[in-house]
């Protein structure tokens, strides 16, 4: 098991947000994640890269306990958010997911209006005092999702009527509206065209100011463009973790190098 040393420059300025220690995940008999330990930083974009089936999405879904919804999935090891074990029995996964928001591969707006899509999270968590407050939250979230200008005149039109890129930004706005501390993104651009991808990437870069963003991506160019830290997964192992510039220019592990140069994966 390779545990990458953290870069000094980052440790000085950023706090550790999520600490994973010896995490193992099993799907039935399949050992999907093997002894992964990693420290994820606050206010940083961390990219998980690796070939298909290497476990990066599985590991991402461990961070907000989305794997709980899969019956045959079993998670071992310790993951803590701000020092609190999120797999502790006393932790309510529902509360945890409000803190650790998630954006999925395929845009999945609810069959509701744009407004209701964004207001959904704040409503169930009781974040708004009244209607005006809710309106503010929705506007703020849509602005942060960089989609406000496009939808401000049709807030009550169905969210499913937007284009793919708009839908994905709506989903990001929806995730941002619950004021999470960490934002998990599972290949958020794989269903989008290059222009929409560009918009979402720009947005991710802006979100870095407030959140810890963890993004799973198949595109190494994307990882290089948006992230500061990169983790390379291979066959369920975390092979290498370090600064993005370091990983892409001077990887320490031969497997990482092979993957980045296109020889495997």
């Amino acid at each position: 098991m390779y545990d990458a040393p953290l870069r000094k420059t980052d440790v000085e300025t950023k706090n550790t947000k999520i600490v994973a220690q010896d995490v193992n995940v099993y799907y039935g008999d399949t050992h999907a994640i093997k002894d992964v330990s990693v420290d994820l930083l606050d206010k940083t974009v961390t990219a998980f890269i690796g070939p298909s089936g290497c476990g990066k999405s599985t590991f991402l879904r461990c961070l907000n306990r989305m794997n709980d919804t899969i019956d045959i999935c079993r998670v071992e090891g310790k993951i803590s958010l701000d020092g609190e074990d999120i797999y502790d029995k006393r932790v309510d996964p529902v509360q945890l997911r409000a803190k650790v928001g998630m954006v999925f591969q395929k845009p999945n707006p609810f069959p509701k209006s744009i407004y209701d899509n964004v207001a959904y999270g704040p409503k169930i968590h009781g974040l708004a005092k009244n209607k005006a407050d809710l309106d503010d939250i929705v506007e703020k979230a849509l602005r942060r999702g960089a989609i406000w200008d496009e939808v401000k005149d049709r807030l009550h039109a169905p969210g499913t009527g937007l284009s793919g890129g708009q839908q994905q930004r709506l989903c990001i706005a929806r995730a941002v509206a619950t004021e999470p501390e960490v934002l998990l993104m599972d290949e958020p651009c794989s269903a989008l065209d290059p222009i929409a991808t560009g918009q979402v990437e720009e947005l991710i870069d802006e979100l870095r100011g407030q959140y810890s963003v963890i993004i799973v991506t198949h595109s190494m160019q994307q990882a290089a463009r948006v992230s500061q830290k990169t983790a390379f997964f291979h066959l369920g192992n975390l092979v290498e973790y370090g600064d993005t510039s370091q990983i892409f220019t001077n990887p320490e592990d031969s497997r990482t190098e092979s993957y980045i140069t296109g020889r495997i994966g």
Partner: protein
């Protein structure tokens, strides 16, 4: 030649045609199937199709048309005076057909000589005696006219059958020749077979559609017949249902409103029972139940749908009725006079509808994409919040469709009502009173000796039509709702 033999011979020709056609095609390709346009079997099938289809079609048409033609020409030969006072030509003709059939069977069984059977001057008393001895059914005394007609009928029938056999065989052989001539390596047999299969499928589909149209037309014509005898306004707006079977149309009151009210009342009670239980069980099964529970519980629930409705009727009559009576009857609250009531039928019908609602809703809820659930859980929603605010709204059009389908079943249900709701057509709000529905009254108007020219019997068609329009409307509405909202959520 008996029909069975004819069919077997044609099939035999077809089989021979298959083998010959296949062989001929192969031969034309020099014995190498790769040089053929199609696989060898297609050439064989092409020949077999050309043997069977034209000959069998002609046979079918002939079998339908021949009796009509013979009936027409024979009935023209029956003299006016041969029709008895209180009978009709149609009755005489059926007598003729029966006699002809009897003659045929008696001769075939050896109970009567061919000469006697065909002798136009035979003594009819002797013939009828011999027919009776041979065990053939002769209802009344034969008359000379009937016997003559029967003999004509028999002769023409036999003649027609002989010609038909000839024509069919000639057609089959012609088809064989045609098919064999085509069996050459360049012939596109595969495409021909494809066309024939398409024609077969179209024929099957059109039979189903034409039958539906036929049913609707027969309903419409009989309904029009009814409205000629009974004013439509009285039927649609009458508040009393009291048919009389005295035969005088004027003394019956045939207002549909009490029946419609009974139908709606019972259906509403049924839906009030079925919709929440069915929907909640569907939610449990699709969202909460573990795969193991689901694999047991879902089939169990669907067993309910397999129970014949008459068994539900018995359940209503023997179990639910008395049970309700013991609570709401004279010994209890005193609202209920007898075991048969709207409540009894409605409750049992509701139980019957549970699997409809739950099974359809379960499928619809499962069809909501997992990404919706993930999206909601990812925002920190609980399971019931997700169901209430995301899944049910997404599945709603489908669920409404399921409920409307259940409603149209409730409206069309008969046996439970016959046994559970009583037979009194009443306009009342008390759910513990006996009422009856449109379907139950159709049954009671048509069972027994129904005279199909009286309004009391014809009203059944008007009731059927009303019911048909109602359920059709509900189904169309259900389909419309499902279609209109479906794409929006995909």
């Amino acid at each position: 030649m008996p029909l069975l033999w004819l069919i077997l011979i044609v099939l035999g020709i077809a089989v021979a045609g298959f083998v010959l056609g296949r062989g001929r095609a192969l031969k034309s390709a020099g014995g190498d199937a790769r040089n053929l346009h199609s696989l060898p079997g297609y050439y064989g099938n092409n020949v077999a199709i050309k043997v069977i289809v034209p000959s069998m079609l002609v046979m079918l048409v002939w079998l339908v048309v021949q009796p009509l033609v013979i009936d027409g020409s024979v009935s023209a030969t029956i003299p006016e005076g041969a029709v008895p006072e209180n009978s009709s030509l149609g009755l005489v003709m059926s007598e003729v057909r029966r006699t002809a059939e009897g003659l045929e069977n008696a001769v075939a069984a050896g109970g009567m000589s061919q000469a006697l059977a065909t002798d136009p001057d035979a003594d009819f008393a002797e013939v009828s005696q011999q027919l009776q001895d041979a065990g053939q059914v002769v209802t009344s005394q034969l008359t000379q006219a009937v016997l003559r007609a029967a003999q004509d009928y028999r002769e023409m029938h036999v003649f027609g059958r002989t010609i038909m056999s000839g024509v069919v065989l000639v057609l089959a052989l012609a088809g064989l020749a045609w098919g064999l001539r085509e069996s050459h390596k360049a012939f596109r047999a595969r495409n021909t077979v494809e066309m024939s299969i398409r024609a077969l499928l179209i024929a099957a589909a059109s039979i189903a559609i034409l039958t539906t149209i036929g049913i609707v037309l027969s309903l419409i014509f009989n309904t029009i017949e009814f409205f000629k005898l009974y004013p439509a306004a009285d039927f649609f707006f009458g508040t009393t249902w009291s048919p009389s079977f005295s035969g005088r149309g004027g003394s019956s009151e045939l207002g549909v409103l009490p029946l419609l009210w009974g139908t709606f009342y019972i259906s509403i009670v049924a839906l009030i029972v079925a919709v929440p239980i069915g929907l909640f069980s569907a939610i449990y099964l699709s969202e909460y139940a573990s795969p193991r529970v689901r694999s047991v519980a879902k089939p169990m629930l669907e067993i309910l749908a397999g129970i014949p409705t008459i068994v539900y009727g018995l359940f209503a009559l023997l179990t639910v009725g008395p049970l309700l009576l013991s609570v709401f009857g004279k010994d209890g609250l005193g609202w209920m006079q007898a075991g048969t009531a709207v409540m009894t039928a409605g409750l049992v019908m509701g139980i019957m509808l549970i699997p409809f609602v739950s099974s359809l809703s379960d499928d619809i809820i499962n069809a909501v994409p997992q990404s919706m659930r993930d999206g909601s859980y990812g925002l920190g929603a609980t399971q019931s919040e997700t169901i209430k605010q995301v899944i049910l709204p997404a599945a709603l059009p489908g669920i409404v469709g399921a409920i409307l389908l259940a409603a149209s079943r409730a409206i069309g249900e008969t046996m439970i009502v016959v046994l559970g709701a009583g037979a009194a057509a009443k306009l009342s709000l008390n759910p513990f009173e006996a009422m009856t529905t449109v379907t139950a009254k159709i049954v009671s108007q048509l069972t027994g000796d129904a005279d199909f020219s009286s309004p009391e019997a014809l009203v059944a068609f008007a009731l059927g039509m009303t019911l048909f329009v109602l359920t059709l409307g509900l189904n169309v509405l259900a389909l419309y709702i499902v279609r209109k909202y479906r794409e929006q959520y995909e």
